[in-house]
Symmetry: C2
Subunit: 459 residues, 2 copies
């Protein structure tokens, strides 16, 4: 075990414990100061960013990646600064009262949101992300250890230095110690820190599926994120044809690399004109269909009957590899297609093959829709809407920490809420348990819920 990783993790935990006690006013005010510091030091950040761009050029980085590195292209830098103020202005996620209960006279139980503690956040090379994550961490009262993609190392280092200078300069006023934000730079640092489950409470990986999978398999710390987004759409026998066409085109083709894109299309063969949905995917969306033998023979027959089978269609209908195609995220204009005979069968297929991200039913039949919404085990279950809506901004969460496919804690698109947990506060006046029934005494518990909107804790 690396001593330096342990020291970094312990520093995060200890400074997080202090940050936890700081008021929202001071946390938000520090974010405004960080905003000002980054704004005032735009020149030195630009200089560091130039170094990264030069290395990228020297290393022959692809044009699209190069563009992502350039923090001063367009209004990216200004948008980054505005984002910090936006997060500062959000409602305080810490200290929210979720339950208030009178256990006995003068003995009240409160369930109150609290920061998770110490985060390890791993993200890609877009330089503006470091400011976003810093804001989210400080706003939610969590210490964070940050690791960004190596292509932006100079920019990250400069931004992190400025942030830490601001934090240190304001420590005597804000009470927030500099250890709340720490930058690490190597993959070895990451793998050492993944062993620090005593001090780190949550890992948030934002990056490739391979990265997330590797992190999940090498740590005992809970991971907030998703390795795969295998989203399915089920066309029920009572699907509206126009809805089916529009939604599948949107879900498959509007951003095929997105984790909320459709990868599997399940079709009830009793849906009239189902084949037109597939024809439309090929002709309008340029999609390659990976179809089972049943689908293939039925589809070719329908297309021939309608005199529609052209060369594009012929080359776009390929045999599905049934052992793998229904368990993979294509991230391209490919889609696996299968027949299912009922809503029950669709739900069973999805629960076995999906990655618990987002799955949709298209139907006008309310009973089938309700069964689907109850039966599917994923974080998002949709009725007559595109899976592409699975997104923190579209949900109105203000900002998105990630999309989680785990079954507990935070599921689906995660806003600031995913970075808090809760504590029980018990406020008494000298009560002891042995005075109560069940523990030798004769006092009875009242267990009366109080109106949380009327409670003012700490006032």
């Amino acid at each position: 075990m690396s001593t330096s990783a342990e020291a970094t993790a312990k520093k995060a935990r200890l400074s997080g414990n202090v940050l936890k006690t700081i008021s929202n006013e001071k946390r938000s005010s520090l974010l405004h100061k960080i905003h000002d510091g980054l704004k005032a030091n735009a020149a030195s950040i630009k200089e560091a960013n130039q170094l990264d761009l030069q290395s990228a050029e020297k290393n022959g980085l692809a044009d699209s990646l190069y563009k992502r590195l350039d923090l001063f292209k367009g209004d990216k830098f200004e948008t980054m600064l505005v984002g910090i103020k936006d997060v500062a202005g959000l409602e305080d996620p810490v200290g929210k009262l979720k339950l208030a209960r009178e256990l006995d006279e003068g003995l009240n139980l409160y369930q109150v949101t609290a920061p998770v503690g110490a985060l390890l956040v791993i993200f890609e090379s877009r330089p503006e992300v470091i400011a976003n994550i810093t804001s989210l961490a400080i706003k939610s009262g969590n210490a964070a250890i940050l690791k960004g993609g190596k292509e932006s190392v100079n920019t990250f280092r400069e931004i992190s230095n400025i942030i830490n200078t601001v934090i240190t300069e304001n420590e005597s006023v804000s009470g927030i110690p500099s250890g709340v934000i720490q930058l690490i730079e190597t993959r070895q640092d990451v793998s050492d820190l993944l062993q620090q489950d005593l001090y780190i409470d949550l890992v948030v990986p934002r990056g490739s599926n391979a990265l997330v999978r590797q992190i999940k398999s090498s740590t005992k710390i809970p991971v907030l994120g998703h390795a795969d987004g295998i989203c399915s759409i089920y066309l029920d026998e009572d699907a509206n044809l126009e809805n089916a066409k529009r939604i599948t085109i949107d879900a498959k083709t509007s951003y095929p690399a997105g984790c909320n894109a459709m990868e599997t299309l399940l079709i009830n063969p009793n849906m009239p004109e189902w084949w037109q949905v597939l024809e439309n995917l090929v002709k309008t969306g340029n999609v390659k269909l990976h179809v089972t033998a049943d689908v293939k023979s039925a589809l070719l027959t329908k297309l021939q009957e309608a005199n529609k089978l052209d060369e594009q269609l012929q080359s776009s209908i390929v045999d599905a590899d049934e052992a793998t195609d229904f368990d993979q995220e294509f991230l391209s204009l490919d889609c696996a297609v299968n027949f299912v005979e009922s809503t029950e069968a669709a739900v069973a297929h999805i629960n076995l093959h999906s990655s618990k991200h987002t799955d949709a039913i298209i139907t006008e039949n309310k009973a089938n829709a309700e069964y689907f919404l109850k039966g599917v085990d994923s974080s998002g279950v949709y009725w007559n809407a595109s899976t592409r809506f699975a997104d923190g901004f579209r949900y109105g969460f203000g900002t998105e920490v990630g999309i989680s496919t785990s079954k507990i804690h935070a599921r689906g698109p995660v806003g600031l809420d995913g970075l808090v947990s809760y504590q029980y506060q018990l406020r008494g006046s000298g009560q002891v348990a042995s005075d109560y029934v069940g523990s030798g005494g004769n006092k009875a518990f009242i267990h009366k819920n109080l109106d949380t909107s009327q409670v003012q804790l700490g006032a």
Copy 2:
């Protein structure tokens, strides 16, 4: 990897997926049928229980353990039966609406509680626990794989057979498949199942610290429970002496083997008469004090000045092993004692040494109390109350699944709520993401929260 473990785990997951769709009425009605089945078969359960008692006798089991095995001693069996009906009568934890938001006209987002999925529950030898866990699992819509202590294997097997007969007989009416409750019998089964993270969503170990620790270190599945209960009480300089005395006696001595018992006492030496609290622990509570050098010299001086230092006190004040005593759960009438100079120092000590279970401050000083409640990182943070209140029954949760010391999902005493998570339901009318701003379109999101009490899902 064991094929049989995989089959068991997959069966749990698949039957859990069905159970997830069943109404509360049918889940609760099945519990009443299970109640009736167990009641009708009391004779065969008693026979099986006799076999376990005979083996216990043969193996020379300690008297206290023997008593726990006897399901027909006093009203234990009747209490077990009543418990099933009690759980059946609880409010449905599934399908609760936590958030309702209009994203756009005809496009509504709902956050709805849902079962976690498939549970692996490991528990001790008390035979009645199997009925309790079965009730909790079915009520919360989760499939469960059960492993009880080996001393009660015959009783568990008989009860499990009756439960599964009832489930099977009612399957055509209830829709609940028999795979929702499965009994396993060996430790090897448990360790094979701990590898089934694809199918099992949550492990709930109820047993010794060693068992929980071993489980936590050998699975990637989230574990709901606690290995240690290292609870501390801090006596602030403004502590009320009578409160301090009563609360420490209750917390240390009313049930020393409890995970919510006090293991560490932190004292602000500026508290007047602090030494009387320690004297009282020894004289009234028979507690052995493991004290640091500072505490020892100050305490002996105070006791001598007051002419109180007798033989019992002298032999009950021993040197703390500072390297270990503040990180261990004594589970006996022992207590580690240290001085801390301030509330901040107390919070820092607790955050470093406690097991995130429950910690208390005794003080009349509101500012210090509020700092403590905000600063301590444990699931329970108490002001002027005994740590022994950390208990699902005392919190009024109706029934207790366990006490969790994890930082995410369920914390502290966990009721049925800990066995549910949530899903996002999106109910639309054909909407696609690319029609909205930010994704190429020009429609704007409304993002208006709806009054959840006015929403009737599935109606």
